[in-house]
Every structure is written in C-alpha cells, then in structure tokens.
Assembly symmetry: none
Homo-oligomer: 180 residues x 3
C-alpha cells in the first residue's frame, strides 16, 4: 500500500481536531471541519435527490462533499474575514493530497468538478455547504447566540466584520438560490 494513502487517512483524522474558525466571530460554535463535512455530505445527498438526481449520482455528489474540505488539513480553515487577507494555494494542497497513489486521480477529478461547479452534483454539494453554514447559525441562534442572529437575520453592518460580510457566500441568499 502506498504510504500516501495513510497520509490521506491521517489528514482526514486531523480535521476532527480542527474547530471551525468562525468560532472566533461567534464564540459558541461546536463544529469541527470533520463534523461539518459529514453534515454537508448528508445534506448534499438529500438536495441531490430532491433535484432529481439518481441514487448513483447523488452518491457521487455525497463523495464530493466528503472530500471538499480535506485540503484544509493542509491550508487551515480560513473564516470569511481571513479570506480577505490571503488566498491559500488550495490547488497545491489538493494535488499534494491526492497524487502518488493509484485511485487518487478519481478523487482529484471529483474535486476539480466541485471547484468548477459545472455539474449538477457540484452545484448540489456547494449549496449543501452553504446551507450547512446557515443551519449552524440557525442552531446557534436558537441556543441563544445573538451574534448568530445578527449575522443571519438582521443587521451585520453593526459589527466590525460588516465590511467582510457582503462578500460572504453563505449569507447571500440570492447567490445561494442561484439567482446570479
């Protein structure tokens, strides 16, 4: 067995030790990159079927979702503020993770598809990613977190991060619903 398969498994394990970095804005989040990825995978399957994809194609979309944040074991998880100050070389991270063993190419192809958002599978996976973020903010809001409420529903312009929020995919409902 190629050692690089072990590296991949180890890096997936690392995601379990990565609290998602939006915690620094919201303070009471409980998700890790791993648990986020799992939830995105489940949501992706459901959306895919509701969009009319077959069981087989929905499983393809779910696989995409499972691996979509694996590069963060190398690049780190940048929240919507940090994204304004740097663009990690995700492409290189993905390449470093998925080359050097024979079935890596199949996963690489899935991830390229995800990045391009050309297939319906990729679109469902990306929508699920954004919806999972909304879900977290909704749950936090119900748990009593008023910052989550501000971010999601009312007026993010009040906060220091206002300048960053306008570019945030997850809260832009029109972008999310595919109107642009």
């Amino acid at each position: 067995m190629s050692k690089r398969v072990l590296y991949l498994i180890q890096q997936a394990g690392v995601l379990m030790l990565m609290p998602r970095s939006h915690n620094k804005q919201l303070g009471t989040t409980f998700d890790t990159v791993a648990s986020h990825s799992h939830h995105v995978a489940v949501i992706t399957y459901c959306i895919s079927r509701m969009e009319g994809l077959s069981h087989e194609n929905a499983m393809k979309a779910l696989t995409m979702a499972t691996f979509h944040d694996l590069a963060e074991a190398r690049t780190g998880d940048l929240d919507f503020v940090a994204k304004h100050y740097g663009k990690p070389d995700e492409e290189r991270a993905v390449k470093d993770q998925f080359t050097g063993f024979d079935f890596g190419g199949d996963l690489l192809k899935l991830l390229e598809d995800y990045e391009e958002r050309s297939s319906l599978e990729a679109k469902c996976a990306k929508d699920a990613d954004s919806l999972e973020q909304l879900y977290q903010e909704w749950v936090l809001m119900w748990q009593g977190n008023k910052l989550a409420h501000e971010m999601k529903d009312s007026n993010p312009q009040k906060w220091w991060w206002s300048q960053f929020v306008k570019d945030d995919m997850a809260i832009d409902k029109e972008k999310l619903l595919g109107k642009r």
Copy 2:
C-alpha cells in the same frame, strides 16, 4: 418537500453534538459521532479501492459509512461496556429515520446491506469503522494517554472493564482481519 427530510438533516446535525461515549473510559477523546462518521467514510473509500472495488462501488461503500451511525441520534451512542447492558432497537430507529419520503428506500437498502455484511462494500465499511476506532486509540496513545495504550496493546485485563473487552470487535485483531 417532506418534513421527514428536514428531520433527517436535523438528526445528522445532532451527531455533531454527541461526543463519542468511549470518552468516559479514556477521558481525552475528541471525536463526535459526526466526525467519527466522516473519518470512517474516508477510510471506507480508501479500503474499498485497495480491495479492488471500482470508483463507483467505493462511493457506494462511502455512502453506507456516512449513514451507518445516523440511528445514534435516536438510540444514543453506547460504548463497549454499555453494550453489555442493553441492545437498542436500532432497526426501529433506522426505519423511523428513513421512511416517509421517496428516496428513503434507497438509503434503507444500503443500511440493510451494511447490517448483513454480505457485500464487499459492507465489509469494507465495517472494517473502516473498526480501524477508525483503533486509529483513535493510537492517536490518544501518542498524545500520552496511557489508558489508550493499555486498551490497545498490552493488558486490558488489569482494568475494571476487562470483563467487557474480550467481546469488543475493535480490539480483536483476528476478528478484524477476517480470520473468524
């Protein structure tokens, strides 16, 4: 959209709030049922390919792994000690989760396959589940946890849980390697 699809997504979200219950034996674990499921999914894909399954069939096994512990949102997560004092009605939990919406049947079929362990996909997913447990104990051991070391490598018979360990799938290397 059926409300039951929303319930399914909500219950997958619940797994993010469930620290795995082996923590009560080991004390320094960091996995949740959600992050465990994600890691199992990644490992399942890798094992499946190494066992010669196609990309398509490996994605099927990965999907199985993604959903294999979803019932725990209802039944709770029982560690190897608790399993000696009760067997939750997992079958009913699975049925309650995956009926009442049209694509539930496809997922139900996957989970039945997983329970029966007849297909190679199911066997790979179950091996990944056990290996993920070993992986956690190995990581905890390297983090300095001596209980994890005892449990995994040397002499669990010294501990109060000794009477339970002999039946534990994850530490039975012969069972794991398919010798019985």
Copy 3:
C-alpha cells in the same frame, strides 16, 4: 479491601466524564451525570425535610439520590428520545456494581426501594430528580437558550422530538406532582 469497592469508586469517577446526553437536543447544557447526581442529592435532602422526614431519614433519601444514577457508568445515559429505542438492563448493572463486597447489600436495598417508590424517601428522591431536570432547563433558558424555553414552557410539539416529549417524566408537571 475487596477490589469491587475500588471498581465502584472508579465507576463513580466515570460519571464525571459523562456530559448528560440531553445536550444533543439542547446544545448548551453543562451538566454531567456526576454533577446532576450531586445536585439531586442536595435537593433530595431539602425536599425530605420539608416533607417532614427526620434528619436520619432525609440522609437515607440523600444516599439513595447519590447512588441513583451510578448504573449509568455501565448502561450509558439515555435521553428521552433514546429511551424510546431501548431499555438497558439497569437491574443487572446495579447487581454487577453492588455485589461482591460486604456493605453492597445495604446499598442494593436502598436502590430497590428507590425503584419501587414505595417509601416517602424514594418519592422525595424521584421528585428531586425531576426537579433538577426542570432546574437545568430553567437555567439554560435564562442563559438565553430558546430550545430550553420551547421544551419547558411553550411548544415542544414544533420540534422533531415532539413524538417523544409527551412521555417525558420531567416535563409532565402532573406526573411530577403526583396527580397520576
């Protein structure tokens, strides 16, 4: 000293590592099985005295409360949803914990009394158990948790767990007050 006394002490220690599983519904709970048991013990003494029991009998009730959830170190802690999918063999767990050392019999007798709820001591301890649960939900509510508010006071029927709530002892005020 019998080794089994050490096991008992170790298992009481395990309760400190068990966050109560209602956290998976409420998200911001902070109680462990141990801290819950401690609180129940204090409340039990107070209720017992207010019900007219003597100091000696109130201490008997308090002792009952202190040990009432010890079996959960073996069976696990099932929340009100999980209880619908399985009934752990608590009787066996209690027997495994309290036999094999000489004073175990005295504790066993207390726990049997607790299960039967025939004595006033047992009734006070059970009421304290339910009140402690209400107390937690009240604290969470004051901490801003809207789910705790929904669960306790207004409309649990809105949630996916509605089908389980109706059987929950702790929120059934009439059951709690002994009207049925």
